[in-house]
């Protein structure tokens, strides 16, 4: 199990180094399939982990390096769930890239960084040492920097820099927080930090990192700006990897680990709610399709945080399912946006309209994903949103639950609005037909996954429930101690 997890990390991480070599060797055409292969392999390698994880088995391994820095892994249901979901979406996006990214100038670099990105995510998911968590965190940030600026326009590169600076800034403060935790408890090992109460200063610092990475108001503005990246990348950032990192870290550090004081918890909940509402408001007034979707991500991240931060059974389950549901749906939406952008050569929704007739599959997929985000059953988004808000009610946070519901209304409004502006009505401006078969196929697969993960919710639910059980075990053992 441990070596399996190690393979999941190392295949994309080390394999990515082969891609620029292939690029230099003149095999530009081969770089795409290589990336798909590596990421796909990484995903396939998570399959055998599902069985043990469902059975509730956990594993740990550790390689001491220097003093308190050791490369240690932690395999449990949470980690496997994240690894599985993220790599699945990443694989699909990589396949889509084959159609989307060809004929651009820096193809090998693109595939190299994407694979590295996935590797960093896998590493982060399985890491048990805070330093390594941070390290993979930053690898993802630098990957994100290169990828956002991929099209190289001066303004785009500036936005890439902004994203890098904000996420890096948050992360270094988080590192300072880790160091403070270390001075208090003398360890960087997450499992040893279980049940330890974290001080206010350290909490604020760590949350700065988590919030900046997971684009929570007011550290979120880089995420809408990152919409200048290729659609595959925004999709990757929003659905599979980047913004999920903060969520995962929160689940790992605070739901399964350190203890937060109740007053701090209230503040965090209010912040998450604020983030959800403010960004939903922004989304309602945005006419750039990718920025709208990005704001929507910020909002959904807020929901997920609400689920995690309330520390209840339903909340936790809901948040994890949310990560998956949002991943599928938002991945699909951004890839749809990619097809639309390819077809209309614009991101401005006011210049679109009536596209449904020209791209029906994309339209249907967009609608399914949008409704999932808006929380309409039977898409998975509904169940996760329901669980999260039920978790809030379960935790006695009724006022917050009510406001969260009202925010869900705004979500519904902007999602429908975007669908209407893009696909319905009379067509404005010229538009080609559907994208390439590969691209449309991937979008359709994501839409089907969105739908299927609602109908077949029990499969992820079982895994998530095991994760929740492990979380409870941690809490119980803490009380017992």
């Amino acid at each position: 199990m441990e070596s399996q997890a190690l393979m999941v990390i190392l295949v994309p991480l080390l394999g990515s180094l082969l891609i620029p070599l292939a690029g230099w060797a003149g095999l530009r055409k081969a770089t795409g399939p290589m990336a798909v292969l590596l990421i796909g392999c990484s995903h396939l390698l998570t399959w055998p982990l599902l069985g043990p994880a469902l059975a509730g088995r956990t594993g740990e391994s550790s390689i001491p390096l220097y003093r308190w820095i050791e490369f240690s892994t932690n395999i449990d249901a949470l980690a496997v769930f994240m690894a599985f979901t993220a790599s699945l979406i990443a694989t699909l996006i990589a396949v889509y890239s084959l159609g989307y990214i060809e004929h651009t100038e820096h193809e090998p670099e693109y595939y190299f960084i994407v694979t590295l990105f996935v590797g960093a995510m896998m590493g982060l998911v399985f890491s048990r040492n805070l330093i390594f968590l941070y390290m993979f965190w930053e690898i993802s940030a630098l990957a994100c920097w290169r990828l956002i600026g991929y099209f190289r326009d001066p303004e785009y590169v500036w936005k890439a820099d902004k994203a890098f600076l904000i996420t890096f800034g948050g992360a270094v403060f988080m590192l300072l927080g880790f160091a403070l935790i270390f001075t208090q408890y003398g360890t960087f090992d997450i499992s040893e930090l279980r049940g330890k109460e974290i001080g206010t200063a350290a909490l604020v610092l760590v949350m700065a990192g988590i919030f900046s990475k997971s684009a929570t108001v007011p550290l979120h503005t880089w995420l809408p700006d990152a919409g200048v990246a290729p659609s595959t990348i925004t999709s990757l950032l929003h659905a599979a990897i980047l913004v999920k990192i903060g969520l995962y870290a929160f689940a790992r550090l605070f739901c399964n680990g350190m203890v937060i004081a109740p007053e701090a918890q209230t503040w965090l909940l209010v912040l998450a709610l604020l983030s959800a509402f403010v960004s939903a408001s922004a989304a309602l007034h945005e006419t750039n399709i990718k920025r709208l979707l990005a704001y929507s991500t910020v909002s959904q991240i807020g929901y997920t945080f609400l689920g995690l931060m309330v520390f209840t059974h339903f909340g936790y389950i809901g948040a994890l399912l949310y990560i998956m549901a949002h991943g599928f749906a938002k991945g699909g939406l951004f890839l749809c946006a990619g097809i639309i952008e390819h077809g209309t050569h614009t991101k401005d929704m006011t210049k679109m309209g009536g596209l449904f007739r020209k791209m029906p599959v994309t339209g249907v997929s967009y609608l399914i994903c949008a409704l999932s985000i808006a929380g309409i059953p039977p898409m998975a988004g509904f169940f996760s949103k329901y669980f999260v808000i039920n978790g809030l009610v379960e935790g006695g946070r009724i006022a917050i639950a009510t406001l969260a519901i009202l925010t869900a209304v705004v979500t519904l409004l902007y999602m429908l609005k975007s669908f209407r502006m893009v696909f319905l009505g009379e067509s404005r401006g010229e538009a080609h037909g559907e994208g390439s078969p590969v691209m449309v196929g991937v979008v359709a697969v994501l839409a089907v996954l969105t739908l299927a993960s609602g109908f077949l919710l029990q499969l992820p639910y079982d895994l998530v429930k095991v994760a929740d059980g492990q979380r409870l075990v941690n809490i119980v053992s803490l009380l017992w101690r």
């Binding site: 940030a141 600026g149 820099d161 001075t183």
Partner: protein, 480 residues
């Protein structure tokens, strides 16, 4: 094994003597000689690592030299960077002319630095420092451009101030102890527990100011942003990567962690000067539009980190500082060599005129990314680990404010290096440079070597810290 020490010392001067004949034979001979003369000390140094143990001594013509972990660490830095710069210079020097002279002076500089590290006498240390300095004055002016000569003069004059301060300091120490040999000095001056004599305090102040000037610590830094950018690129790399550390930091380390009795205030001074340098260097770098000037200011900032690490007074801080010396040498010389490659091809250092160069100069572009990420402290590159140790040390010493500032400055560092990336490499190609080619092979090779070193040191940081950094730090802490 001990004889390696002799070879490390002697190979460069011998090569210097042979250089006129070699250059007469042709450029290739001078190149070969220079690379061999820079490479052999590196090989010997690396061979010495496993054999070091508690320390080695060597007698050369009756003169005593000794090697311990501290010297070794700096030796590795000096010779590694020197080798890379020499490889780079074989191509770069083509447009300057005076190939043989350039190599000779560079080798003299290397000799001076190596001898500084190996000698066990305060006055000899000063003398070898002069050797290296004189070579560097000339090398700064080697391009014979107006600004090069001007800044060389400025460098020289401020260095003269530095050496006179140091000389007075040595005098005072000699007056007090009657010897200049390190071990004997340490024994003679060992504190009796009472207050430190005023004479030694004065000497300490002189050393801090003198070597601080050499190390370009704020506020003694002003010569550096002029001298380093106007020098030829391999020399900038040597100066920023190595000279300021050996001439400044190494001397400070030797004097304050072994010779002079422990003076508590010195730590405070280090912390204050270090913090000042760290912040001001970063802020100043942020406003530059000259590629190399930005790098020069960033050196001041990074020296600040090192000084903070030294001033913390715990093992972690020392490990961090020494490791940062090692790392900074690698990435700063890498970046200077990158800037040199750009200047070599474009003929300008103004970043506003560049843009999208990575499409035309892929190796330079890619390696500069390595350098940028290393210096900003982004894992898994090497700069991250040393900064981490310094910050952890600061927290362990209760210096939370300094730790926070160090974090902030590293964000700032990333900020201005991203400006470089954005304006120079990452972006659309400026049409003006449509026909630019990648730098010559030797230059590319040198930067690839350094970039690989940055990454590998980062990934296998534990080997480096356990192998050569921590023993040095332990010695400085007074252990064995």
């Amino acid at each position: 094994m001990e004889s390696y020490i002799g070879w490390i010392l002697l190979v460069p001067p011998i090569a210097v003597l042979l250089m006129p004949w070699a250059s007469r034979l042709g450029g290739w001979a001078a190149n070969t000689l220079a690379i061999v003369a820079a490479g052999l000390p590196l090989v010997f140094t690396l061979r010495l690592i496993p054999a070091l143990g508690g320390g080695l001594t060597y007698e050369l013509f009756g003169a005593h030299f000794a090697l311990d972990s501290v010297s070794l660490l700096f030796l590795v830095v000096v010779n590694a960077v020197a080798f890379a710069c020499m490889v780079y210079a074989t191509s770069y020097v083509a447009h300057l002319g005076g190939r043989g002279k350039f190599f000779a002076l560079l080798l003299i500089m290397v000799f001076g630095l190596n001898a500084m590290l190996l000698t066990r006498d305060l006055f000899s240390l000063y003398l070898f420092l002069e050797v290296a300095s004189i070579a560097s004055y000339v090398l700064v002016a080697f391009g014979l451009e107006q600004d090069g000569i001007e800044s060389a003069v400025k460098y020289l004059l401020l260095s003269a101030v530095a050496t006179s301060l140091v000389l007075v300091g040595i005098l005072l120490v000699y007056m007090t102890a009657g010897t200049l040999e390190f071990a004997a000095l340490g024994a003679a001056l060992a504190g009796t527990g009472g207050p430190v004599p005023g004479l030694l305090l004065l000497a300490a102040a002189l050393f801090i100011a003198g070597f601080g000037l050499k190390a370009a610590v704020m506020p003694f830094h002003a010569w550096l942003p002029d001298a380093h950018p106007s020098a030829p690129a391999p020399i900038s790399a040597m100066l920023s990567g190595v000279v300021i550390k050996v001439a400044g930091i190494y001397a400070l380390v030797r004097i304050f962690f072994g010779i002079l009795p422990e003076i508590g205030e010195v730590r405070t001074v280090f912390l204050i000067l270090g913090t000042l340098s760290m912040i001001a260097g970063a802020v100043l770098a942020y406003f530059q539009s000259d590629f190399k000037r930005m790098l020069a200011y960033s050196s001041i900032s990074q020296i600040g980190y090192i000084l903070i690490g030294l001033g913390l007074g715990n093992l972690l801080g020392l490990v961090g500082a020494l490791f940062h010396v090692f790392n900074h040498a690698l990435f700063k010389s890498l970046l200077f060599l990158n800037s040199g490659a750009v200047q070599y091809r474009l003929g300008t250092r103004d970043i506003e005129q560049m843009g999208g160069l990575e499409t035309r100069m892929p190796v330079t572009g890619a390696t500069s990314v390595f350098g940028t990420l290393s210096i900003a402290g982004v894992p898994p590159f090497n700069g991250f680990w040393s900064k981490l140790f310094i910050i952890m040390g600061a927290l362990a010493a209760g210096q939370t404010a300094i730790a926070t500032l160090a974090i902030l400055v590293s964000l700032f560092t990333l900020g201005y290096f991203l400006i470089i990336q954005r304006k120079v490499f990452f972006g659309h190609l400026n049409e003006k440079w449509r026909d630019i080619r990648e730098a010559p092979a030797a230059m590319s090779l040198a930067v690839i070597l350094l970039a690989a070193a940055c990454l590998l040191t980062g990934v296998f940081f534990h080997s480096v810290t356990r192998g050569i950094v921590e023993p040095a730090a332990v010695i400085l802490m007074g252990g064995n």
